[in-house]
Symmetry: C2
Subunit: 601 residues, 2 copies
């Protein structure tokens, strides 16, 4: 039976007891981390979020207490009152913060009993994630998980402190907002008062933060929950936290400079690492050409080279045909990989690039001798030119993809990362930041057969490209920037359009009629007419930032209560069925044939 806590007062946290408490009578509270009974002496290791302290119950001194505590086991919750004593010399544990002392118990209250936990409460618990998520409250007791959540809490504090110090205000924006068709799929919330109408949970507070600039708040930030009803990938959650910010009277350099200061602060304060700024800036075009990716991982080389000119007239039709069709032939040189990449390994990389729609992977392996999948189809001069272009040496492996540009970039961009992974070059404590800039303003959507905004329709074109908005939209570059760390997009943003006339040209280029634009964005377009400061901003995925900061492989490990791939939460079993009355009040019903998984309530 659980005893009461009434009248007790915890002296301090477990790991805070030390030699300065010697001789004091104290009360320690916590979970039983482990318990050893050495015939007449009961050693209870008591744990809280700070660490552990050893409490000792002596049968000779307190036979009844000893008896009472003999039934205790792991995860019981105790309050132990006793004297802080120095451990005997041989019992001192230098690895423990509290290793010099122990609490000799004079009283123990068993505040809560505990069943045997479904997995051990230790850092390496060796259980499957599903079980961990079902018992998340136990999973979160593991010190490694506790540390992650504590660090997240500190990072949030640090974020706010930094941006406040830079004149930002945290301003809350609504969660029940208006559904907009642009962007990802909205989570909808049926309205009871306005039956048949719906709120949408925000995908980001984009329009609100722009309106806050129009309202004159000048610098806004918010740690804000956002929602996207998309099919989940490993690093996506249906709800996620964003560090969102917006600034008035700024251009790209102002935004970048404030944000480099932010990242410097976080890395210094949380990891003790001094980042060098300014970070490298790579225009999108260059990032694609050199790395096949708009979020290149710079921890290793293997840059792309364009071989099209060398092979465009080649008799090898796989190459020359790709160039002829408007595509290209590009390659990477995986330096020194010949010793490590067996023929089997190379074949498996060939399979790997097929997931990026590459039809094949041509290769040269320059080991003790040179072998290749394709040089036999080339002239000697062509092969020599390729080797020269790739700065190939003995020991290298060269991979070539010939296809449409998009496929070439996707395949080689992914391949260079995959090679680095297999060569174990991805050090988690090596942090390579860069800005990718000058993104195209538009991308062509084959699905919708029109240009869509690559970022969003309020992104400003670059001054020097505005004239091409109508004549050559595909060439217009945006005042947009992404911050990339080790191949992951940490965040991104843009300078916004603040001129009504330019905004209208933008909507026209996107194929919106004036009416459609006003139907969807009317409140913002109207607002622009009452005086709009130039403004721009940025948003970071806070979960992803925490994942990289803590070196975890999954964002689920840095979110207290995450959802799994199918958007369910295993601990509370949600989503779940609701009552017919609830649906009736909302004016909605399930479609014929739709049956909730749990069956009828």
């Amino acid at each position: 039976m659980a005893e009461s806590f009434h009248g007790l007062h915890r002296t301090r946290y477990c790991a805070e007891f030390g030699v300065d408490n010697l001789g004091q009578t104290v009360t320690a509270c916590g979970f039983v981390d482990n318990l050893r009974n050495l015939g007449g002496l009961l050693f209870i290791s008591l744990r809280d979020r700070t660490g552990v302290v050893q409490c000792t119950v002596e049968q000779s001194q307190h036979p009844a207490l000893y008896e009472k505590c003999s039934g205790v086991h792991g995860e019981y919750v105790l309050a132990v009152t006793g004297e802080v004593c120095r451990r005997s010399a041989e019992a001192v544990n230098p690895k423990m913060k509290t290793g010099e002392i122990e609490i000799i118990a004079s009283d123990v209250r068993i505040l809560s009993e505990a069943k045997t936990t479904p997995f051990e409460i230790v850092d390496h618990c060796n259980t499957n994630e599903e079980l961990r998520l079902k018992y998340r409250y136990l999973d979160l007791r593991r010190p490694v998980m506790q540390q992650g959540i504590v660090l997240r809490s500190l990072a949030a504090k640090l974020t706010r402190d930094y941006f406040y110090s830079q004149g930002f205000l945290e301003i809350e924006t609504p969660m029940l907002t208006k559904s907009t068709p642009e962007g990802a799929r909205d989570y909808l919330v049926p309205s009871r008062v306005h039956k048949g109408s719906f709120y949408a949970l925000p995908q980001s507070p984009q329009q609100y933060k722009q309106l806050l600039m129009l309202a004159g708040f000048d610098r806004y930030m918010q740690l804000v929950r956002c929602f996207r009803d998309e099919d989940l990938r490993a690093d996506r959650q249906p709800e996620f936290t964003q560090i969102d910010l917006e600034m008035s009277f700024v251009d790209i350099d102002d935004v970048i400079s404030v944000n480099e200061g932010f990242l410097k602060t976080v890395w210094r304060e949380l990891l003790g690492i001094e980042l060098e700024t300014p970070f490298l800036r790579l225009p999108y075009r260059e990032a694609m050409d050199r790395f096949g990716s708009d979020k290149p991982d710079l921890r290793f080389g293997f840059e792309l080279r364009n071989l099209s000119d060398i092979v465009k007239n080649s008799g090898f039709k796989v190459f020359s045909g790709a160039v002829e069709a408007g595509g290209s032939v590009r390659a990477i040189n995986v330096k020194g990989a010949a010793a490590k990449f067996s023929r089997k390994e190379i074949d498996s990389l060939g399979e790997y690039v097929k997931t990026y729609r590459a039809k094949g992977l041509a290769w040269i392996k320059w080991g003790d001798e040179m072998t290749s999948s394709f040089t036999k189809f080339l002239t000697e001069e062509e092969t020599a030119a390729i080797l020269r272009a790739m700065e190939a040496e003995q020991g290298d492996v060269i991979f070539v993809v010939a296809d449409r540009d998009r496929v070439v970039f996707d395949a080689l961009g992914a391949l260079r990362c995959e090679c680095a992974r297999r060569l174990d070059l991805l050090k988690k404590d090596d942090f390579k930041f860069l800005w990718v800039t000058e993104f195209p303003l538009f991308e062509y959507s084959e699905e919708e057969d029109r240009f869509v905004a690559m970022h969003h329709p309020f992104t400003s074109p670059m001054e020097e490209d505005i004239d091409m908005l109508e004549s050559a939209p595909e060439k217009v570059r945006a005042k947009a920037y992404d911050i990339v760390l080790n191949g992951t997009e940490l965040g991104g943003g843009s300078i916004r359009i603040f001129q009504t006339d330019l905004q209208e040209r933008m909507f026209k280029a996107l194929g919106f009629t004036r009416e459609q634009a006003y139907h969807q964005f009317g409140h913002l377009l109207n607002a622009f007419q009452y005086g709009t400061p130039p403004h721009g901003g940025m948003a970071y995925g806070f979960d992803r930032l925490m994942m990289l900061l803590t070196g975890k492989d999954s964002i689920r490990d840095v979110i207290p209560f995450p959802k799994v791939q199918n958007a369910a939460e295993l601990m509370t079993s949600c989503p779940s069925d609701v009552s017919e009355q609830q649906l009736e009040e909302l004016g909605i019903m399930l479609r014929p044939g739709v049956v909730p998984e749990g069956g009828e309530p």
Copy 2:
């Protein structure tokens, strides 16, 4: 046409320019607050969130610039470059922070033109709230609104700083949670992946924060958005922000002490007021007896007195009958009101109490002479005893209500506040805090014909009352506490049940079968079995706190983008209709006859 901001750099905020900038060439940016043209001299008052600075364009020096700026008017957005000069002695404005200087413009960029705003951008804009909310981005430009939002931002920072300093961690809890039938109505979110199933937006993170205690985080806090789909009153919003906290290994005094420290800090830092602690604590019973309310306003007296004993045998059946039927006769003495309350005023107070279901309001007005609605029905001794009991003197007005206790308390509790309001006793800068404690654990729900939890089903009974859980549940008091300020409940909380057996007795008393309890709260009840620290917590309505701190009459004035009474947001017109495709993807449809207000999309 709007000019570009390209290449410009704002020197500092408008109100930060001063004599230390004399002689410097600077750039100021902002909205045009007003503009005066004194024949050859254009005085532009430029405004940002810090205040205003005067910019002067001289026709004699810059005729083209003067010409260009002549068309500018209020709310245009400008960047003014020029030299900071001392104003001539007669032009110095001591009321302005920047009143000693002006910027003599050498260049002005018109960054954005502005239509005439639908209302003036001044503190007292004298327009209706509906228009203000529709153009919220303009409303928020008004200095008084800006200050409120800035203060809210500071208060949020202060809150986090304080609780972090006390060892709390901010930990984020999910927004897509499980619907629970207890409590208010949930906002539901249909799941696309699990068609027919729904998430609920959290009414509070109650269960998650308890699970965080089970997970060993010890002290949790969060500024968190919560949702209740209830019909709105003046001080309610469908989404609202809560300061939410929970602590392990604590009893009532620990929670109260941390929170008094919090409120002291907020009042000191934001208002410069040193609150005296500890605050008064009033048991619920005493609060009802003395003030007819569990959130008494202590800025004035007019305490309730029980006259039942005096009148229980009276020939006046209105009084004696009420006592006989198990009710009571109680009164307040509105000291010194005789001179102010005319007969007409007293009659209107009689109407007022009817809204609280009182059948009538008996009164004695002791002005130059004594008049009364009821003393004629009493003996002289009874009247004298009443006057004695009420400590009546000449100048007083006494109001008596005879009814069921609940009606008597409601009516007199409201009446004493209404009298204070009419007597202008409610000073907004007089802050009277108190804790109301020892709430009943249960209240009887006539609607459901059973006891329901007055706070929530995890609230711990008081140690000394546990034995009555089954025998006399109505007498059991809870370890619950509300913090009350000037008649408003700022927040409240409780010590939670942490023992499985006690929790099961609690559910039994609430009429839950074991199965029902586990169906709804299974994850929490299961979690309790793996070791549960004693814990308790608290939650504040942050919006309401800000309203009282800033002396506003409506929480809409401290929320950047509030919703109106019918839960709509006027600026973006949400909720709104969505496409048939969106509903289809979610597996739901509108019920027959339900038509969204906007008609078909």
